[in-house]
Amino acid sequence: MKILTTNYLACAVKTCKSEPAAFPLHFKDAELAREELELNPEFIKNVLPRIDWPALAQTAAELGFTTLPSQKPENLDEQTMKDLHTLLMETQVMEGKLVCGNCGYEYNIKEGIANFLLPNHLV
């Protein structure tokens, strides 16, 4: 699971939908991997306005990446582009859990694939 994807994921429980604490989800026991991928500047440029920056900064900090600027960069110079690509696309969580800060539900991540299916009593 790529870090970019986590910026669009909140708790699937309906009663958590409107709760600020349900986003971003928090990684627990995360096993990180890095996969070298071709840089796609057009994509980074297009996706940047659609990123919730405070949530990204929080996720990054929780995973130990503390070099992210506190504000969304306004100009994408070459280095910023590369750094964002490395964090958003190349950094992946292979095993672990995503935890809701509101209800505490833990979503499993196995082989990089997170499972958001809810048990009956939460549907």
Partner: protein, 459 residues
């Protein structure tokens, strides 16, 4: 005022494949929109492989056709008429129709006949008829600078090519070849050569066309909420989009054997860097937060024709949403590692409604929703199409089989926030009902049809 304001727009001829006819114009329209080109249709018919459009330049013509799956090629159209006599008269009276650059070039002539077969000598005599053109270049069969193509269309029935005879064409034209479409891509993504496919993987051709209709392209994010083995994901990424998929069955994403999974397909096609992610989820309880970040949604939802449609939940509504986990012999069921949540039947219309609501909440302005819906033939054109105040219906493309059909519905997100639109309340799904009662199509499918459908994709 610039020169292009005064000059009449240049005409181009698109040579289409004579297949999936209803999808051809919507595909070209989508490509024009994706590339912001001012396309105008001058002539088009589902019965003909030849269509005439106008565009500002040859470059634009090459651009519009480069990703087209249903167009074979595009030509700069020099002249066209109803018969050869008037075509030649036109070319003689207006020599400016042959631009200076073309006159001096090395060239060759070919002929494209629709519904007619010409012998070599018959082809030669048609081509010799153009000897009056003011050409000063030499004929070169090997890599000529200009490839003149004569187009002729004959009356008749599709698929039946008559031999030389007294029949006259109904239209003729002369063009210069510019570039091919992308029909060879169909072969590249052929399911027979794909490492990982499922029982419901959509064939490469319609999968690619669907992604063109969704305007998949570089820099965009496309999502398939019922991604299965990832047919739409690879074809959307082929056009340059980043793709995200989810499925209620995580095993579809992960695969059973190493390398034979969704990521394996991306590796096979050399487009790994365009695969964003796959996750296990149910559209009715999506983990994707309500923010408009998707450029397109492409899907062939499992309407449960064979399996009966399922979404998460217990079929006894009293057991849903109780907030209390199920405990058996002191073990909290959902915490067991192999826990598979029970599923409840879910109606066809409820699913269409969910897809539209999801699209309205997640697509960017002018983002596209393209999804397939099956119908019995008796539903026909009167099938009720899903509606949403934030979605404009752009195209409805049917594909007919013997006793059923499926329809590709294309919607575009109308700009603006949902708060300012009159979105009707979500209808409650009657929970105590069987899958076949809820799903009209499925009911008809099992009650009314004895025949098996003829190859709906690669079943």
């Amino acid at each position: 005022m610039t020169a292009s304001d005064i000059l009449p727009a240049q005409e181009y001829l698109i040579h289409f494949a004579q297949i999936h006819e209803c999808f051809r114009q919507p595909e070209i329209n989508a490509l024009a929109k994706r590339h912001s080109l001012p396309l105008v249709w001058k002539s088009y018919s589902n019965a003909s492989p030849f269509a005439i459009i106008t565009l500002p330049s040859d470059t634009d013509a090459r651009t519009i056709i480069s990703d087209s799956i249903l167009a074979k090629a595009i030509y700069r159209l020099l002249a066209h008429s109803s018969d050869y006599d008037s075509l030649h008269a036109l070319l003689r009276s207006r020599p400016e129709l042959i631009p200076e650059t073309i006159r001096k070039a090395t060239f060759k002539f070919t002929i494209e006949s629709y519904l007619h077969k010409r012998s070599k000598s018959s082809q030669r005599s048609v081509i010799n008829g153009f000897a009056h053109l003011p050409l000063t270049g030499t004929v070169t069969l090997d890599k000529p600078e200009v490839k003149f193509t004569v187009f002729e269309e004959f009356p008749g029935s599709p698929g039946i090519y008559r031999q030389d005879g007294p029949t006259n064409p109904i239209s003729v034209g002369l063009g210069v070849f510019l570039s091919h479409g992308s029909r060879s891509t169909i072969d590249t993504y052929d399911l027979k050569k794909r490492l990982y496919i499922g029982t419901t993987s959509m064939d490469a051709e319609l999968s690619l066309v669907t992604c063109n209709l969704a305007m998949a392209g570089p820099g965009k994010i496309l999502y398939d909420p019922f991604s299965g083995t990832g047919s739409f994901l690879v074809t959307a990424s082929h056009f340059g989009a980043m793709t995200l998929g989810s499925d209620i069955d995580g095993r579809q994403i992960r695969g059973k054997k190493p390398g034979k999974n969704v990521i394996g397909n991306f590796k096979q096609y050399g487009i790994t860097s365009r695969y964003l992610d796959g996750f296990t989820a149910d559209l009715t309880n999506t983990p994707l937060r309500s923010t408009r970040f998707l450029d397109g949604i492409v899907s062939d939802p499992p309407y449960g024709v064979r399996e009966g449609l399922k979404v998460l939940g217990h079929k006894d509504p009293a057991k849903n949403g109780s907030g209390e986990p199920v405990v058996v012999d002191g073990v909290v069921k959902f915490k067991e590692p192999d826990y598979i949540p029970p599923k409840r039947p879910y109606s066809f219309n409820a699913m269409l409604d969910d897809i539209c609501r999801f699209a309205a909440a997640h697509l960017v302005d002018a983002g596209r929703l393209c999804f397939w819906v099956p119908a019995t033939n008796e539903d026909g054109i009167e099938m009720q199409l899903p509606k949403h105040p934030a979605l404009e219906l752009i195209a409805v493309c049917p594909q007919q089989f013997n006793n059923w059909s499926r329809w590709l519905l294309v919607y575009e997100r109308i700009p603006g926030e949902l708060d300012s639109m009159q979105v009707p309340e979500k209808q409650a799904v009657p929970q105590r009902a069987t899958a076949s009662e809820l799903n009209n199509f499925r009911k008809k499918y099992f009650e009314g049809f004895n025949q098996k459908p003829t190859s709906p994709s690669t079943e």
